[in-house]
Symmetry: C2
Subunit: 214 residues, 2 copies
């Protein structure tokens, strides 16, 4: 499979590209916003595309054409305003879903955030972020695509150990970004997670086993 | 009909309540956020309810119970940040749609903004606002309710003259808030605008005629 990784320069996206390229089973196409970000991924042997998520659906679709799956790992990040939360985390995600449909890419893995599917779980400081993520997730769930939505808990930079808990409604917890990336890569090969949305934190089960039980 | 006006203290909402009460054909129930806003509407003989759109769907549904139609004229306004655009213009609107379904109120008139249904029309300074309004509109269109979405052009405080143009895609233009309010009140009695979304600016046609032709 060729896997388009949108938000490849992000902390999770980068590890997804690295793992796909290292594993060698699939190939990654890294989507980044800035020209100076390209060479890192070219050095990994990945294909690349320069796309601004604030651009048109057509721009994204043309990068997606010929891919077999899309991983959406982009985010406006904590350093920008809530206007960018709307334009990237909500509208950018939805445009990518529409681009997948236009380009005929059926498989779509979304990186969301723990608990955003339940409004009563939205923590007050980042309520607007939770809302943006939630509505992007709902759009994907209604898209007709073969989606998987991962909702990881608090992200850490610890080394991953490949052990998780995955479930519809989990208590808050933490997970290394590396294990989120591991779970994304595993999800690409796991049919049982198609049409599923689930919370994800560090735990006791091997990733593949945990995904199979969903 | 009893018409629940959400955002009654806003510049359009206020005129909607006034016109409904003056006309005497229907009755208005004014939904406001602050206690000191209640007396103005009580003096008009309108029912009132105190609801914070950042609260729960259930709060809104309990205010909506027993109404026959909802007018959503709320907005976070230009003085707050984009986080409130997400929480009021997007999530508040969507919660009100869900509350309408919960409360069994089938008729829903939404005040949107010109051109937000086409991403290429979003003007760059308020792109995030356009996105929020757009996704709220899409949610309503998919809700199964008897919706009407009015997308007025630039709002002025001029006196209304009851003359408009209404159409799926209009060039940018202006319209007095009073004529938006007149159009909302007329739309409540006009079956031909059910399941319709349209741009709205000042023009040459009487409101009722313009609505009938949609």
């Amino acid at each position: 499979m060729k896997v388009l990784v949108v938000g490849a320069n992000g902390q999770i996206g980068k590890q997804v590209v690295e793992k796909i390229q290292k594993e060698g089973k699939h190939t990654a196409k890294a989507v980044v916003r800035k020209e100076e970000q390209l060479s890192y991924f070219q050095d990994l042997g990945a294909e690349t595309a320069l796309v601004d998520l604030e651009g048109s659906i057509e721009d994204i679709a043309s990068a997606a054409k010929g891919s077999d799956a899309i991983v959406f790992a982009a985010g406006s990040g904590g350093h920008t305003g809530a206007d960018k939360t709307i334009l990237i985390d909500l509208d950018g995600a939805i445009k990518t879903v529409e681009a997948a449909k236009q380009a005929g890419v059926n498989r779509f893995v979304m990186v969301s955030a723990i608990g955003v599917h339940r409004r009563e779980n939205w923590s007050s400081e980042i309520q607007h972020y939770s809302a943006a993520k939630h509505y992007a997730d709902v759009w994907l769930e209604n898209s007709g695509l073969d989606y998987t939505i991962l909702r990881p808990g608090g992200l850490t930079n610890d080394e991953g150990n490949g052990k998780i808990v995955a479930g519809i409604d989990l208590d808050r917890g933490y997970i290394p970004r590396e294990d989120v990336a591991n779970t994304i890569v595993a999800a690409l090969d796991e049919k049982s997670v198609i049409q599923k949305s689930f919370d994800l934190v560090s735990g006791e089960s091997d990733i593949k086993e945990a995904l199979k039980k969903l």
